[in-house]
Amino acid sequence: MKRLRAWILPILVLILFALIPFTASFYYQQIFFYIFLFAGVGFAWNLVGGYAGQLSLGHAAFFGIGAYAYALLAPHIGTGPAVLAAAVLSTVSAAPIGLICFRLRGPYFALATIAVAQLLLVLATNQFKGLTQGAAGLLVQGMVPDPSLYYWVALGFMVVAFAVTALLATSKTGYYLMAIREDEDTAQTVTINTPLYKLYALLVSALLTGVGGSIFAANLGTIQPNDVFSAAISNQVVFLAILGGAGTLYGPLVGAFILEFASDWLKNSVANVTWLGDANAFAFFLYGLLIVLVVMYMPAGIVGTVAKWRKGRAAHVHAQRTTAGV
């Protein structure tokens, strides 16, 4: 019974999402496309950053590898196999990256992940220009015949990413990852092979992120290193997950929703406020402020805070009952 109830909300939301293309303009479908896409990547990041507590600031590495793998291979091996290849390549690349970065903890881990993503950005721009065309950009073959179908591609991707993370997070693996986040030493004493599980989380995360990158590239139709390997991509994924609630099941979706709509609203309504100088800068200024405020006052994110409040209330009620009983 309780299990069934847990499914009601997600299914309702999913039905709602399925109805959107029939009511919203194509522009808003694209906005939802990005919400779904980045929520999906956010779910992927959440495995490593939220559940396992390893603050990766370099997920653009996998996003970019996925995007380029798809862009380069799709004309030769076809769309489906190219997505598969993107998934495989980003996963494979995550192995050495994980082996290097996971030897470090705390801020050193975060710095190492940034360095890796930056390294790939520089390499894709300069050293591997022959392959990537550098910043001149690659044209990317579409995934689906009609652009409006990308809405469904992204929705499907998000649902899969959610299913995978939810499945992992609520299973033994999820428990293990949370134990690693809370205390690695303790986790080891209960037989958890912490390096292996961290790597496992990263591999799954990279796989999903790589697929996300390939969908991004196909929808955009063209990519250059700065579009997919940039710190902006990494940061966006991290911030939306933290805003929504790192280590919560729905957090990344909530975060993606808020950020994308806020960005759209700011762009269209604030764009001509001349005294602000640069409206986009103002939008990003608010974005920065939002991050600061969330970290200071709501570090558990929106979903996490709501959950805490509810739990707090429940505990409170429970306490009252027990005292009354005594």
């Binding site: 522009y27 220009k129 910043a135 044209l139 063209t222 990519i223 986009n280 006052y297």
Partner: protein, 414 residues
């Protein structure tokens, strides 16, 4: 636990307040009117106004050039409306900001089509954004007039809906090679380019043309405009003793490159460049004596022979106080091309406008406009040289306003 809640509420309030503030600002400026209003979903063609969509870089890394474009559009808009508009309707321009990013540019196309029922797109500024816009416009089957993006691949997507006004990085390279061939004393060449879209495209084009014209590329260097120092790279170039150096640079790096070339005494018979940083109005002042004798391929110059060129220059200067470059002019011309195409189509209809564009033949202050089968306008490229702090057109000979001066070694300059 309890004392945290007020703080949390305060945070929420602050945020809400800021958003509200932003909102107020919007309605304020919206009420004051102005051509840039994007508020609301006004129809593409109202009763007596025609709203056209422009994508450019209002913010972000390319905003300097976005601003130049906007000035060009505004001057054209004033002229067109004063002369009766398009198809008898007053024209309104909607500027959508691509935030200097391809992802946003693509979204802008969706927004223009969804909210403004756009049947033609003008813009964007950069080649990176242009590729995404072209891909997107193609799926909607509405034409896109590309005013400024020079990367070759913009017209190589196979789309039938892209029409590029400006010459390409290929044309730049070709013009420089032609000029060098005419001079006849250059054999080796080094290419130095910034590593983003513009520089990489220019590099690709020159590698290709240098081969065709029989110049040996002895060095090919890329750099980032974020680098602090270029001397090590220029030393590498110096060791190869090239006759020609071909730069593809933005503005501040162009200045730094020439000054540092002087510092390390890097000499070449020809310092040439793919426009842009070497063509902007402030380059001669910023680089000072180091700018002298540099040759830059460019699209347009106020001294151009086409009618309206000088007038445009003066109008922009009068209205905005800026010294317009070809970026302004290309935007200006783009709106005129759009006007001509819509009027020839006789209706605000994407397919008809596309067909009109495909067969268009017109004269503009930017020169004659006619698009080939790939959508490329055969715009002539000029080469200017800085002589005594001024841009002098030295190539082709029919457009030349002065003679090419040989470049003395640094040690023999004053």
């Amino acid at each position: 636990m309890h004392n945290r809640r007020p703080a949390r509420m305060l945070a929420t309030l602050t945020l809400a307040g800021l958003f509200a503030l932003a909102g107020c600002g919007t309605s304020g400026s919206g009420a004051s009117g102005g051509s840039g209003n994007t508020g609301g979903g006004s129809a593409g063609s109202g009763d007596n106004t025609l709203t056209l969509g422009v994508i450019t870089s209002i913010t972000g890394a390319d905003s300097e050039f976005g601003k130049a474009q906007k000035e060009g559009y505004e001057v054209a808009l004033d002229e067109i409306n004063a002369a009766g508009g398009i198809l008898g309707k007053q024209v309104k321009l909607v500027y959508l900001d691509d935030k200097s990013s391809a992802q946003e540019a693509a979204k802008d196309v969706d927004q223009l089509v969804s909210q403004y029922h756009a049947q033609i797109i003008l813009g964007p500024y950069s080649s990176g954004s242009a590729l995404a816009v072209v891909k997107k416009a193609d799926t909607y089957k509405i034409p896109d007039i590309v005013p400024t993006a020079t990367a070759a691949n913009v017209t190589q997507t196979g789309s039938k809906y892209v029409f590029r006004l400006c010459a390409t990085s290929d044309d730049y390279a070709k013009a420089i090679c032609e000029l060098l061939k005419q001079q006849g004393d250059a054999k080796t060449m080094a290419i130095v380019h910034e590593d983003q879209n513009f520089g990489t495209s220019a590099d690709k084009a020159m590698v290709n043309y240098a081969k065709q014209y029989g110049f040996e590329v002895v060095d090919d260097e890329s750099y980032s405009t974020k680098d602090l120092d270029y001397k090590a790279m220029l030393q590498r170039v110096k060791q190869k003793h090239p006759d020609v150096i071909y730069f593809a640079s933005y503005s501040k790096d162009a200045v730094a490159l020439m000054k540092q070339a002087q510092e390390i005494d890097l000499n070449a018979k020809y310092f040439t460049a793919a426009g842009t940083g070497f063509s902007v109005g402030t380059f001669p002042q910023d680089a000072g004596p180091a700018a002298e004798y540099t040759l830059a391929a460019g699209q347009w110059d106020p001294s151009a022979k086409w009618p309206g060129a000088k007038e445009f220059y003066d109008k922009v200067h009068a209205k905005f106080g800026d010294y317009p470059s070809y970026h302004d002019m290309e935007a200006y011309a783009a709106l005129y091309v759009a006007k001509e195409a819509i009027e020839q189509a006789g209706a605000y209809d994407g397919q008809k406008i596309r067909d009109a564009l495909a067969s268009l033949q017109m004269e503009t202050a930017f020169g004659p406009v006619h698009f080939d089968s790939t959508g490329q306008n055969a715009h002539p490229v000029i080469v200017t040289q800085i002589q005594n702090g001024k841009f002098v057109t030295v190539f082709p000979s029919d457009a030349a306003t002065g003679k090419l001066l040989p470049t003395p070694p640094w040690s023999q300059r004053k």
